[in-house]
């Protein structure tokens, strides 16, 4: 098993591949890293030169295929979660104080500002013209879903060398079955951890336990409730959920976090989406076929 790690998209990225041809595996690992860096350069809101930053500045651009794809994924996510996942939370995240890369926010206390209110801005995509247009005052944050999409794409490239796994912080995808039969993935719980045997698809974890900061006397986090434009007041600390792809899992994880423990568990049981919920009061709830 070859393992390759590097820093990108504000987190540590880990690529694993099981191959009997090491040169081919190394070539595929390099291609996977290059793909993630290329997508970061296109989709980061922190880089003024990225295509996403240009869209947020100009409000209307002819976009490349990556931005078009991820924006369409995000809009599909907004529709499928009845707005619990919403890419138009950019100004709300910035108002909460997450206005620089997280390492910068963690180093220098955030100032923050008044929340902009409900996030419901319209985004128009013309696939034929390749054009994306934002309504006045609307800006996009594709952070989590861009990471999920990058993980899915890097994993597809790595698959050429053998069964593989790509994990960017909490967003994870697998392709192919390793000799062990599954990809065992650890999920932290208040009492230790549980291990998920992942055979296919993607897994994502979203929570308020990592990207959080102080703004005055108040602790804030990056999971914005689009209905209020403020950091979500959920009874959950962290959600881990599996889906067909890492990008889909990312959308689902954010939506479940906002739904709260009871609704999230009931929803996952109804749809058969395996999930591990950790509540603020220290309970671990397994649902969607894991219990």
């Amino acid at each position: 098993m070859l393992r390759h790690t590097f820093e990108a998209m504000g987190t540590e990225v880990e690529c694993l591949v099981e191959s009997d041809v090491p040169p081919r595996a190394r070539e595929a690992l390099d291609a996977a890293e290059a793909e993630i860096r290329r997508l970061e350069a296109t989709l980061s809101r922190f880089s003024p030169d990225s295509e996403l930053s240009r869209l947020n500045r100009e409000g209307r651009i002819v976009a490349g295929p990556d931005l078009l794809r991820v924006v369409e994924l995000a809009l599909a996510g907004r529709a499928s979660t009845a707005g619990r996942f919403d890419p138009t939370v950019h100004d709300a995240v910035v108002a909460a104080g997450y206005d620089r890369t997280f390492s910068e926010v963690a180093a220098v206390p955030a100032r923050g500002s008044d929340p902009p209110g409900r996030c419901e801005g319209r985004v128009h995509v013309d696939r034929e013209l390749g054009e994306i247009r934002l309504d006045p005052g609307v800006r996009l944050d594709l952070g989590g879903i861009a990471k999920g999409d990058a993980v899915d794409r890097a994993c597809s490239l790595l698959r050429a060398a053998g069964p593989c796994l790509v994990n960017a912080g909490g967003d994870l995808a697998v392709r192919g079955v390793p000799r062990a039969g599954t990809w065992p993935v650890s999920v932290e719980t208040p009492t230790g951890s549980v291990t998920l045997a992942v055979r296919r698809g993607g897994v994502a974890t979203s929570g308020r336990d990592r990207r959080r900061w102080r703004c005055g006397d108040e602790e804030r986090h990056h999971l914005i409730d689009p209905a209020t434009g403020r950091p979500a007041a959920s009874d959950l600390l962290r959600v881990t959920v599996a889906a067909g792809t890492a990008a889909e899992a990312e959308v689902l994880a954010k939506s479940l976090f906002l739904a709260g423990a009871d609704s999230a568990a009931a929803g996952c049981d109804a749809t058969g989406s395996p999930c591990v919920l950790v509540t603020l009061d220290g309970r671990t709830v397994l649902a969607g076929g894991l219990a």
Binding site: S186, T195, T205, R210
Partner: protein
């Protein structure tokens, strides 16, 4: 005196009329449209439709060659990686 040619035409016309009548009668034009079917055939047709719908449902959830085991389960195997809040 009737000529042989006229006899021949009369015979041909008679034969033609005979076959047209035969075809018309064999088609049972007096029978009702949409004849009532044997109820057992109706039951069989309904069952076939149910099975076809079930087969379509199964093939849409389990493509050929796809692993039928759950995509994610709990395991006691040592982990190769960890997922945490992104």
């Amino acid at each position: 005196m009737i000529s042989q040619v006229v006899r021949l035409y009369a015979l041909a016309t008679t034969i033609a009329v005979f076959f047209v009548l035969w075809a018309a009668i064999a088609a049972h034009p007096w029978r009702e449209q949409g004849p009532s079917r044997d109820p057992r055939l109706n039951t069989l047709a309904a069952r076939e439709q149910r099975l076809q719908s079930l087969a379509a449902k199964i093939s849409s959830t389990s493509r050929p060659g796809e692993d039928a085991t759950p995509a994610v389960q709990l395991t006691a195997l040592p982990p190769v990686t960890a997922t945490r809040s992104s």
